[in-house]
Amino acid sequence: MRAVRARVPVALVIPALIGLAFLVLPLIGLVIRAPWATLVDHLSTAEVGEALRLSLICATSATAICLVLGVPLAWMLARTEIPGRRIARAFVTVPLVLPPVVGGVALLLVFGRRGVIGQYLDSWFGFSLPFTTTGVIVAEAFVAMPFLVIAVEGALRGADPRFEEAAATLGASRWMAFRRVTLPTVAPGIAAGAVLCWARALGEFGATITFAGNFPGTTQTMPLAVYLALEQDPDSATVLSLVLLVVSVAILVSLRDRWIGARA
């Protein structure tokens, strides 16, 4: 069959191609400049291993916290008619657009040793969040939770609430209906939200360095290690960046059907 559509206007094609190149070239550069010959050596250094381990632990813990707190929050936003729900939803989305550094400062003001809550944590329990691994997890959870809440809320809104009614007529309490009917129904949405949340937590930099500092072994996650290595050992920075790139692409591939393809 003959192509009947008119040619695409040059005025659109050229900026489109430049835009595409702009997004793709840095990634290609990363791959080209990676020290492939010494890649294994770099990956097996203690610092890299430490940063990678810490990153995985913190991102996974932050995701766990986000799941425990975020799924009920999403349910509340999607299914209840409590007053202030719209405002609550607005607040949930704030960390999405807030510069992460500001998030870190805000966390310090609340959980810092002199913070609104932190002072009591310190004086009552001798417990301090800033500049600890727990602090990293808190910072990552703060920044990443909106991704999970929004994904799960969307899934809940798409799920027919009448199934919960059917469960109620069968004798299920609201809690049981949530656990045995709603949760399995929105499980794919929760999984997608958790993956996004985990990816965001893994890449977290601003809030982490502000709130938790940059101590190798306790708070120095991969992005922080990349930043530090860039000044001392650029090859290591490249290798670490490559690792994060591979993780990101893997996540994108795993979510391909859900977020990039046609959404069911």
Binding site: D160, R162, F163, E165, A166, A167, A168, T169, L170, G171, A172, S173, R174, M176, R180, V181, P184, T185, A187
Partner: protein, 350 residues
Amino acid sequence: MTLQATLSVHIGSFTLAADIGVEPGTTLALLGPNGAGKSTALRALAGLRPLTGGVVELGGRTLDDPARGVFVPPEQRSVGVVFQDYLLFGHLSAVDNVAFGLRARGMRKREANTAAAEWLDRVGLAAQARHKPRQLSGGQAQRVALARALAIRPDLLLLDEPLAALDAATRIQIRAQLRKHLDEYDGATVLVTHDPLDAMVLADRLLVVENGTVVQAGAPAEIAKRPRTDYIAALVGLNLYRGTADGVTIKLNDGGVLTTAHPMEGAVFVTFPPNAVSLHKTRPDGSPRNTWLAEVAGIEQHADTVRVRLNGIPDLLADVTTAAVAELSLTPGQQVWVTVKATETNAYPI
């Protein structure tokens, strides 16, 4: 247990008001057009929509009484519901769907699964126990939904358009099976439907609901024979007129006169079935007393007969054979003579 309910529900400008009483072991059908408030009544009985006024009592226990501040939530009522689109849980197998209510009531998994399997066997789906809802046909899903509702041994069973989602062939088969299961069930059943046949076959008593109010109540046969609104008359396939009787002559409110076999006095309904109508090209000789001229307004094929809509004084529907249509060469706009024997008419007081 007996269901005794006085329902009053306001939703925006819509108001539902209905008195419902159902004895154990019997089935009441709420019959009415879409939007009449039938499903609202069902939701109120299930506890999915609180009453605005009135009271719901099941076996002497008050389930809903806004005046006294009593409201028993659905999970604490002994009410089984079969929803119109079944609402089977998609992530659970058929047997787990049926076991769900038993598990929710605290039965152990093994016992619940055994009981659920028995219920599936009873509705003829033992072989599909492990199937997920998406692997079931419409008729099978309907039976799983019924088994799920009955498995909790409810005191009240609510069926919301239980056959509406099925194709015609499946429908006949499932309707007969449903009748059997309702006969075996010893609780009270309330069925909502817009299909008069479902109501006639499945129910012992009928409540006809239009615009949120009950317009007629009674045994199916009684309602089929003596409809009191145009909606029911259309459902049961009768020509219905209101008029004033003076002996065997009835002067119709909208014009025209009909003669009946039995003398009556005062305001009456009068009906005759469409198949009692004869159509003629010329005025018949020695004609029956109900003879009038009418114009053909529409012709529709209905299974093995042809339904003819006629405008005259009064308007009417006539069912004639295809042969008669050919013989009279009926076409819209044509004038024909209509006759109806007095013995075919049925008059009863308003």
